[in-house]
Amino acid sequence: MTTASPTFQDTVFALKKYWSDRGCIITEPYDVEVGAGTMAPETFLRVLGPEPYRVAYVQPSRRPADGRYGENPNRLYKHQQLQVILKPSPADVIDQYLGSLAAIGIDLSKHDIKFEEDNWEAPTLGAWGIGWQVMLDGLEITQFTYFQQCGGFDLDLVPAELTYGLERLCAFLQNVDSVYDIEWTRGVSGQPAVKYSQVRFQDELQFSKYNFELADVPMLWQLFDLHEKECNRLLAMMAPVVLPAYDQVLKCSHIFNLLDSRGAISVTERVGVIARVRKLALGVAKAWMKSNSPVEVVDEVVA
């Protein structure tokens, strides 16, 4: 490792600053469990409708079935994505993206970068897009997607979504073979450097145990039903409160993932449960579109 390579948090700072300089709102992670940055309302809801929006945030992304008890150097139950939404996508979006790599210390004249076809689809969210995985010296460092549809709606403006896998990117920058060896911070005033493992290893170990062995299946089913019910109750109101309803969708989605990692969802149930989550997500998207349509805004002004 060279001393010049940026730490984990330096990389995060640099990316946030870079996108802040390009007009992005920088927010903190959404505080409900999600499987990907796309699911945070800052993406799922904000890409809907005709309002331009630019945002960037780090999103810890929980995927219970991907846990490996901290034993696999490249696989994590919870990894962190830096998510950028540029709505609408500017014509020079790829150049801007390449600029962000330079901003974190990658000299592209000494590396090999390729854009390989990789379209994205999330049936649970009624969402899909066209794009690439960006390969740097053979390593996938970013998922680049032009959103086409979300919540079942054709999008009025086409957002570009950039999702950087932070652990991979930092392991690459620091030239380490295990994400646990990433230097999170270098330490100041004689304090020792802090490694990724010191910050995150226990999460991986304990949550792997919980997700695969301990989570109470009947309780999870109950929770799923409760959150589903709550979501439906909110959506059935005359003027639904969309954001709280969407939280319920995220809860259901995460509980589904937990049940899945516990091996508690049979083949026959699986399709049905996915359909239940999808129905909620589409319902929320519809309510959001209704409550944010320009027509309604005009009505309010008149009143």
């Binding site: 490249n74 010296d137 053979g138």
Partner: protein, 648 residues
């Protein structure tokens, strides 16, 4: 005077496998545009990189030729009023009209001249449609709902006609004479002319010619391996992909720790090829070497960072594979059979456990290896196959071998997805053939029963490929198989696939295939035998005349609505050609077709020449029809010869 034209569509990275078909369409459509508008000119070159489609033409006219058309007006007898009206309607004056005599009488005519439009105007009008008309497997919008669709966003357009730019726009992009170079090696806004286009691109890190890029990869790979006693494992598909995923390809040689060679080469190769797009390298003896070749999209790796990065990624991938291997061995394949209850084969059909039960039963009936059938699908529950899905079957076979299953068992599992393509090999062992056959046949029977038959071009469950595999294994593996549990719909489907196989894969002519299949097709080995016989006797001089006679017989019987032949009454036979024909048939009964045709032909010819089938005496007539019917039936066990297309 004629002029050159150049069109470049600049886009964000187009998926490699779509580029060639799109370029072909563009070239064809542009040529038709030139032809349709009489602009002269020919497309002389078409080339592409992931970021550009380019066509070059020469010989375009500056403008369309003027045209003259003779428009007919009213008859002269209608009088000058009608003529004036006609002239006015055509935007002409009365004195421009001429009269001509036609078969219907004397008529007014106007010679209408249309001035040709400038080529530049036509191109400016037509190019946007032409470009957006390219059919892609999947398109996108980038400017919002309802805007132009293309494979990826269009970012620049060069349209040069001699020294001018043809002005047009697609979405927010206006045509110009500025191209864009390689993302890293070139500039973003480069002025070009038709003459310096290729050189300017090259100076900006883009090799426009795919052929040159391919050659560059091949030559440099050879140089990299020179003197090392190593050679690249040929892989034309991968070479094609790499040619179209790069604008300036440069191969590099990387290596990995030889300890990974403990893993089966199938797994190492799959990781390198499918996940990393690397060529594998082997030594002189054909053993996998601890090296790989990656192809960069840039000109050099001055500090070795790219090689180092790729080696690092590959190490992680191999570590994963080794981890999966070790992990998967903790639970033997035989202990995974029950886990298949949780793996869906098809939602409407059930789990892989159900499938395993059915396939095992069928394999047993066919005399195959039930142990192989029981374990065949268990690798679907392994981490290795979840990660490297292309290796299904292969992983199962390798694991079975590692778990000391006997060779016939592990080989059968290893091979049971074969043949993977129309010209891919079929399983090598008898057990493998039967397992593959049973697996594919079960897929067909169960999917058809669940209403999942392919429709039109849609075949989401790859049932055509499965059926093709069934046909090939039966015929090429010489297996007796009678399509147990088939339905009329599936039977029709298999009939189609069988016809396709013998006609398009084996190259029998379509009428021979149709003729032989009309005589029965469900015993494929028998069918193949008959096809070979018919193909062999077809060039003999008596064959086509006989076939023509059979066609005639069939028509006669059809016209007489005669289908049920009773016993032939030999007493009713007339001496001469009729009785001769009868005797000829009797005498050679049981002899092979090949030796019967020659002597039979003159007898049939004579019969038709001299004997009136439609005899006035009903009994005689019916008897003659019976004679013909018998003749037809006897020869139709080989083929329905009336299906053979003849000159007569």
């Amino acid at each position: 005077m004629s002029f050159p034209f150049l069109l470049e569509i600049g886009a964000e990275e187009i998926p490699d496998w779509m580029i060639v078909p799109a370029l072909n369409q563009l070239q064809d459509n542009f040529q038709s545009l030139l032809d349709q508008h009489s602009l002269g000119g020919k497309v002389i070159a078409a080339d592409a990189t992931p970021r550009r489609l380019v066509i070059k033409c020469n010989g375009l006219l500056e403008r369309q030729p003027d045209t003259e058309e003779l428009v007919s007006g009213p008859p002269k007898s209608a009088g000058p009023g009608a003529a004036a009206g006609f002239a006015k309607k055509q935007g002409a004056t009365l004195d421009q009209l001429i009269t001509q005599t036609t078969p219907k009488g004397e008529y007014y005519f106007l010679t209408k001249r249309t001035q040709g439009q400038p080529t530049a105007d036509i191109l400016a009008r037509e190019l946007p449609h032409l470009i957006l008309k390219i059919a892609w497997p999947k398109t996108m919008v980038w400017n919002g709902k309802g805007t132009e669709r293309f494979i990826r966003p269009v970012r620049w357009l060069v349209a040069s006609f001699f020294q001018n730019t043809i002005p047009f726009r697609i979405a927010d992009v206006e045509s110009s004479h500025f191209t864009s170079g390689h993302r890293i090696l070139g500039h973003a806004r480069i002025p070009v002319t038709i003459d310096n286009f290729d050189q300017q691109l090259l100076a900006n890190g883009v090799i426009l010619s795919a052929e040159t890029r391919r050659l560059k990869i091949e030559t440099e790979v050879t140089t990299l391996l020179e003197g090392k006693n190593l050679r690249v494992k040929p892989d034309p598909d991968l070479l094609h992909t790499l040619t179209y995923i790069t604008e300036f390809p440069t191969p590099i040689l990387g290596s990995f720790d030889p300890q990974y060679l403990e893993l089966p080469s199938e797994i190492l190769t799959t990781v390198m090829r499918h996940h990393q797009k690397y060529f594998s390298v082997e030594d002189a003896a054909g053993n996998l070497a601890p090296n790989f070749i990656a192809v960069m999209n840039t000109n050099a790796d001055p500090d070795g960072l790219v090689r180092h990065g790729n080696e690092r990624v590959l190490r992680a991938r191999f570590n994963d594979a080794r981890f999966f291997w070790a992990q998967d061995q903790k639970k033997k394949l035989e202990d995974r059979v029950d886990d298949l209850k949780n793996v869906t084969f098809q939602a409407k059909v059930g789990s892989y456990y159900d499938k395993t039960q059915r396939v095992s039963q069928l394999v047993t009936q066919l005399g195959g290896n039930p142990r192989a059938a029981l374990l065949a699908k268990t690798d679907l529950t392994t981490d290795m196959v979840k990660e490297f899905t292309d290796l299904q079957g292969v992983v199962g076979g390798l694991y079975a071998k590692a778990q000391d299953e006997p060779e016939p068992v592990w080989r059968a599992i290893y091979d049971h997805y074969k043949p993977l393509s129309m010209d891919g090999e079929i399983p090598s062992t008898a057990e493998g053939k039967l397992l593959s056959l049973a697996d594919k046949w079960d897929t067909l029977v169960s999917c058809f029963a669940a209403g999942l038959a392919p429709t039109g071009s849609k075949d989401p469950f790859a049932l055509r490929r499965a059926a093709q595999g069934v046909v090939r294994i039966i015929v090429e593996g010489k297996i007796t198989f009678t399509f147990p549990g088939t339905t009329p719909e599936l039977s029709e489907f298999m009939r189609d696939r069988t016809e396709y196989y013998f006609r398009d894969v084996r190259g029998f002519s379509y009428d021979e295939v149709r003729a032989c299949m009309a005589a029965g097709w469900q015993d494929l080995l028998d069918l193949e035998g008959r096809l070979k016989r018919v193909q062999a006797i077809r060039p003999t001089p008596d064959f086509e005349p006989i076939a023509a006679s059979f066609k005639r017989i069939k028509n006669i019987l059809k016209q007489a609505s005669f289908y049920n032949a009773g016993p032939l009454d030999t007493a009713l036979l007339e001496d001469g050609p009729e009785r001769d024909l009868y005797h000829q048939i009797r005498r050679t009964q049981g002899e092979p077709l090949e030796s019967r045709i020659g002597p039979l032909r003159p007898k049939i010819d004579l019969f038709f020449d001299k004997v009136l089938v439609n005899a006035p005496d009903t009994k005689v007539r019916l008897n003659r029809l019976t004679l013909l019917q018998n003749l037809l039936t006897e020869f139709s066990t080989i083929a329905d010869f009336s299906e053979i297309v003849t000159e007569r």
